[in-house]
């Protein structure tokens, strides 16, 4: 350890290397965090452009813009890119920037591994996106890639898809190992587990979830690979396999994955609400226990994604009740956020606006999730736009809003400049209106019976689809504004103080803004 500290000490005097090699070879957690965040922003815009193709096609009934085959590819890639390319890397980027500073560590525990886990990602997504230009087209079987659609009936590019999932899985696993080793071994003296900032807690739990389920995803795609190329029949009924097995394995990964995409958001929102309410967070330890229970429960609810495959009644009841049980710790968290704001002296800067709307809109997504957990109701809602509305409510104004809130909240610390508050608020209101206009009507057309994944629909759904598309383009366009605001802040702006926000607490606010290239080379004292 001592040698590591000394080498950092040397770097301290000459700072980062110059030019492109700085970014290729960097082992600095702040540089890697920045790389992750820009990468995820790029993927967000690419995945968003695909969403625009989807919504443009759905603007009116009938086929107007794209071929159904291409529509299926857009649908599949939009899901895969947003989940694995936008949301997950954004949270890893935030973890890189913030976890070492929050626990008072000089860097991540495994800096070279950190470099590798980032630089795998551009290759993984390069491979995935290159499948668009291959004969037979890109993967077209939906982001859940159910067998046999993704095996027997898949386009030849499925092999590239499998390889890219392997690479992105390896990247996530290495990233999570790094986070856990850092948190468990590199906390400043006096930083007990139950004194850790909630974002650190949320990432510790998320990283354990990733380590538990990313290998299962790797197993699932490996089985697909073997079915396609090596004559096995894991998922092929003709050879004694079973397609339903695929769904079990996939959702055994998939449900914890859902919480991987929301737990860091819980951490972020807790910090922001605390800061702008100028009060200590209500119920810190219950927040930690709630996240732990959500994480554990996430392993015993997977079959609620597949109630309609034909399960015994006992299994349906078990998965229904287990799913409903998750509402309890989630409710505790929502209660604590509201209780933190109660009688606080609140100001509504952009991060707080995003955080409050996170609480409200994520809760709406949670309630529609509860509706879906009811087995007989789910038979009606399954594979309709109601499901689409549900998971977009928890992912867009859920995960994505929390990421945007985090960017506005911490960007003064990263760049040393304040963002333009008026433009930030404008971005918030455009996004807020856009997201609700896009996804709220999808609840109604879903309840009315519009199935998901089709490029065309019956005439009675036309009006709300038109509204939804208008909202989607508003939301999409307002993200260009976000890009502009971020770039403007990076270039310059009002200088930020070290504490930045009046109510901000935590070690990251005790260092200069922008944060020096090396922080906490000697551990800080924590009371």
């Amino acid at each position: 350890m001592s040698s590591v500290i000394e080498s950092h000490h040397d770097d301290h005097h000459h700072g980062p290397a110059k030019g492109l090699m700085r970014w290729l070879l960097t082992t600095n957690h702040k540089d890697i965090g920045t790389l992750y965040l820009w990468f995820s922003f790029a993927m967000f815009l690419i995945g968003g452009a695909m969403a625009m193709v989807i919504r443009a096609e759905l603007f009116q009934p009938g086929m107007q813009i794209v071929e159904p085959e291409f529509y299926n590819q857009m649908l599949t890639l939009h899901g895969l890119i947003m989940v694995f390319g936008a949301v997950m890397p954004a949270f890893v980027g935030l973890a890189n920037w913030l976890v070492p500073m929050m626990v008072g560590a000089p860097d991540m525990a495994l800096p070279r591994l950190n470099n590798l886990s980032f630089w795998l990602l551009p290759f993984a997504f390069g491979i995935l996106l290159s499948s668009l230009f291959m004969e037979g087209g890109a993967p077209n079987f939906g982001w859940t890639f159910y067998a046999p659609l993704s095996t027997t009936y898949a386009p030849p590019s499925v092999t590239f898809f499998i390889f890219s999932v392997h690479i992105m899985g390896a990247s996530s696993i290495m990233g999570s190992i790094n986070v856990i080793v850092t948190i468990m071994n590199m906390r400043a003296p006096g930083m007990d587990l139950m004194k850790m900032p909630l974002f650190v807690w949320s990432w510790l739990i998320t990283a354990y979830l990733l380590i538990a389920v990313m290998p299962v995803l790797a197993g699932a795609v490996t089985m697909m690979l073997m079915d396609i190329h090596f004559g096995t029949s894991f998922f092929n009924a003709a050879g004694g396999g079973d397609p339903v097995l695929f769904q079990h394995i996939f959702w055994f990964f998939g449900h914890p994955e859902v919480y991987i995409m929301i737990l860091p958001a819980f951490g972020i929102v807790s910090h922001i609400i605390e800061t702008f309410s100028r009060k200590q967070l209500f119920g810190y330890s219950s927040m930690v226990w709630a996240m732990l229970s959500i994480a554990i429960l996430s392993f015993v609810v997977w079959a609620h994604h597949m109630f309609t495959v034909g399960m015994p009644l006992a299994a349906e009841l078990f998965f229904m009740w287990a799913t409903m049980l998750i509402a309890v710790p989630t409710g505790v968290k929502v209660f604590n956020w509201v209780a933190t704001m109660f009688k606080g002296s609140i100001t509504y800067e952009t991060p707080m606006l995003f955080a409050i709307s996170f609480v409200v809109l994520f809760t709406i997504g949670g309630f529609s999730g509860l509706m879906l957990s009811i087995v007989p109701a789910d038979f009606q809602y399954h594979d309709t736009y109601f499901v689409v509305a549900h998971f977009h409510y928890v992912l867009v104004p859920g995960s994505i809003f929390s990421i945007m809130a985090a960017v506005y909240y911490w960007i003064p610390k990263w760049t040393g400049n304040m963002y333009d508050e008026r433009m930030g608020r404008l971005h918030f209101w455009l996004s807020f209106v856009g997201v609700n206009v896009t996804f709220f009507p999808q609840h109604w057309i879903g309840l009315a019976g519009m199935p998901r994944r089709y490029p065309d629909y019956a005439l009675q759904f036309a009006d709300w689809n038109m509204v939804s598309t208008a909202g989607a383009f508003l939301f999409g366009a307002s993200q260009i504004l976000f890009l502009f605001i971020v770039l403007k802040t990076v270039m310059g702006g009002k200088k930020a103080t070290p504490q930045v926000w009046e109510g901000a607490r935590g070690l990251e606010w005790s260092v200069e803004s922008p944060a020096p290239y090396h922080t906490f080379s000697t551990p800080p004292k924590v009371n």
Binding site: A109, I211, G219, M223, A237, A238, L245, H248, P312
Partner: protein, 183 residues
């Protein structure tokens, strides 16, 4: 890196490999689970030496359903679509198959039972679904199934559908053979 960090790293790497193998362990676990619960039509052959026969049986309607998997050209249909049987008595049914192509083909039928809770009371003494079926070009056959329903079956079940989906596994076997030969 200090020793405690190395230890954490070691445990986490082991956990990653452990979970990868666990995902493959899910395959046999799933089969065991289906067999125990009788789900998914994965019924075991009736155990030898056990008698399910009884004289206290009641009437039961059986519907036979046949499906052709996509691109399976054979003619495949039950000789009788509906059959009245008694629980606790052996019954026989047949399915007609014909290979109406000009090449020899191998097929496998995959069974399913609805409602699924009837599954554990259904015992098949003989079934064409236990074996692969080979037919020469133009050949036809009557495939037998001999089964019995345990008379302990709940009264609520009066109708049972026995469904079979027939798959073309001709090329599939070639592929498997080629693969084995290749080694």
């Amino acid at each position: 890196m200090n020793n405690s960090a190395k230890r954490t790293l070691k445990y986490l790497s082991l956990a990653v490999f452990g979970m990868f193998f666990f995902s493959f362990a899910l395959v046999p676990l799933y089969d065991v689970f289906c067999e125990v619960t009788g789900l998914n039509g994965k019924i075991s052959q009736s155990e030898e030496g056990t008698s399910y026969e009884s004289n206290t049986g009641r009437d039961l309607t059986i519907q036979f359903v046949s499906h052709n998997a996509e691109q399976m050209p054979w003619v495949f249909k039950p000789s009788e679509k509906i059959m009245k049987v008694k629980t606790g008595k052996y019954s026989n049914a047949t399915f007609f198959v014909k290979n109406n192509t000009d090449k020899p083909m191998t097929a496998r039928a995959v069974p399913s039972v609805a409602p699924s809770n009837a599954n554990e009371y259904l015992k098949k003494l003989e079934c064409f679904c236990f074996e692969e079926q080979f037919l020469a070009p133009g050949e036809e056959a009557l495939l037998p199934v001999r089964f019995i329903f345990d008379s302990n079956m709940p009264e609520s079940i009066n109708n049972v559908a026995l469904s079979y989906t027939i798959f073309d596994i001709t090329n599939y076997n070639d592929m498997e053979m080629a693969h084995h030969d290749g080694r």
